[in-house]
Amino acid sequence: MLEFANPTRFMALSRSVLPWLWAAAAGVLAIGLVLAFRAPADYQQGLTVLIMYIHVPSAWLAMMCYAVIATSSVGTLVWRHPLADVSARAAAPIGACFTFLALVTGSLWGKPMWGTWWVWDARLTSVLLLFLMYLGLIALWRAFDDPARAARPVAILALVGFVNIPIIKFSVDWWNTLHQPASVFRFDGPTIDPSMLWPLMVMAVAFTLLFLAIHVAAMRNEILRRRVRAMRVKAASTLVPAE
């Protein structure tokens, strides 16, 4: 962990890793798409079941991004790791995008299947609340003039949200339920047919690789943005008035 604490070393390492990450993400995504299109159509849902291969990995990634932010926040608060804040900040918009993608694809899937764009069902509602929490994090980041001062308040908010997510999930489940229950990760094995499970798993791996590639690229951008800002502040403070 500590040898990566130096942003310069991170920049050098990520520069060499990033092309491979992009290539791996593109390759696995291509395989996953081919597998998904060759998978049998559902006997009830027809071709709309293809939405699942985007929808389900997006929903998983939406939750994983928050876990990444929460882990990074611990790094910010406990070790004051300089890259932890960069990682959390880079992950928040990506997580918001995956959450939005899960909501939109779910809505597009819900129209032919349930006959409505939106229902106030437990799972949809808790994902919507997750989306609102991502927006809250981004809003708090943007409220500080100095990005360095925003790091620790946002880390506290992210951890408060992380503690609250199970409570929100539990209470929303208690409130209402229509969405099908989890069908992949179950104690008695998945209820989904292997012919659809394999493409889904490949797509999940592809989305995870895609997330890693975007995340590393966004972290590089964030580091560069902070360097530009530091240089601008320095240039402004040493500015010599014109003769």
Binding site: L77, A143, F144, R149
Partner: protein, 223 residues
Amino acid sequence: MIGAIAMLFRRETTLALRVGGGAMMGAVFFLTIVAIMPFAVGPDLNLLQRIGPAILWVGALLATLIGLDRLFQADHEDGSLDLLTMTELPLAVIVAVKAAAHWVTTGLPLVIAAPLLGLMLNVEPAALGAVALTLAAGTPALTFIGTIGAALTVALRRGGLLVPILILPLTVPVLIFGVSATNAAVTGPMAVSTPLTILAGLTLLSVVLAPIAAAAALRLAFD
């Protein structure tokens, strides 16, 4: 220590009740929200009777958030927050006492006003008591969760609208169990005690945990 806590509590309530304190602002806002709802949904008394407890809860939720942004900001600006942190009281206890005083001056009036406003919404007499009871059990949780948002935005110039954005998603469980307990008391086949005890549990949890998070956020304001 008890003396210091009592002194701080008295200071907070006095400041809130005097001119410029804004203690009654939340109750007036609550009345305004309840008053505009019939204009939006129509004056149908049967409909209002059905959604009355929900209106009262949403109104109380929004009214609790009013004035939260000033909870620490005023003390931060005039420097009394620095003095408070230098006392031997832990910062989390100070936050808890300030939140309790804030609830007594803004949350408690809502609990007292709710049955009265419920009458205007044609809420059944049995439900009036239930609304007051669930608000009494639930609004402390809203205030204490709100202190986290107030502490996070203490150094910001435009923290006003940010606090509800940060806090409202976290208050959804309180809203769900508050309204369920009220509805269970009126119509539901379910026993009132189930959602009510969960609501009380949420309140106790936030009373214990929220001051710790808020104190951690406040310390950052002094960096």
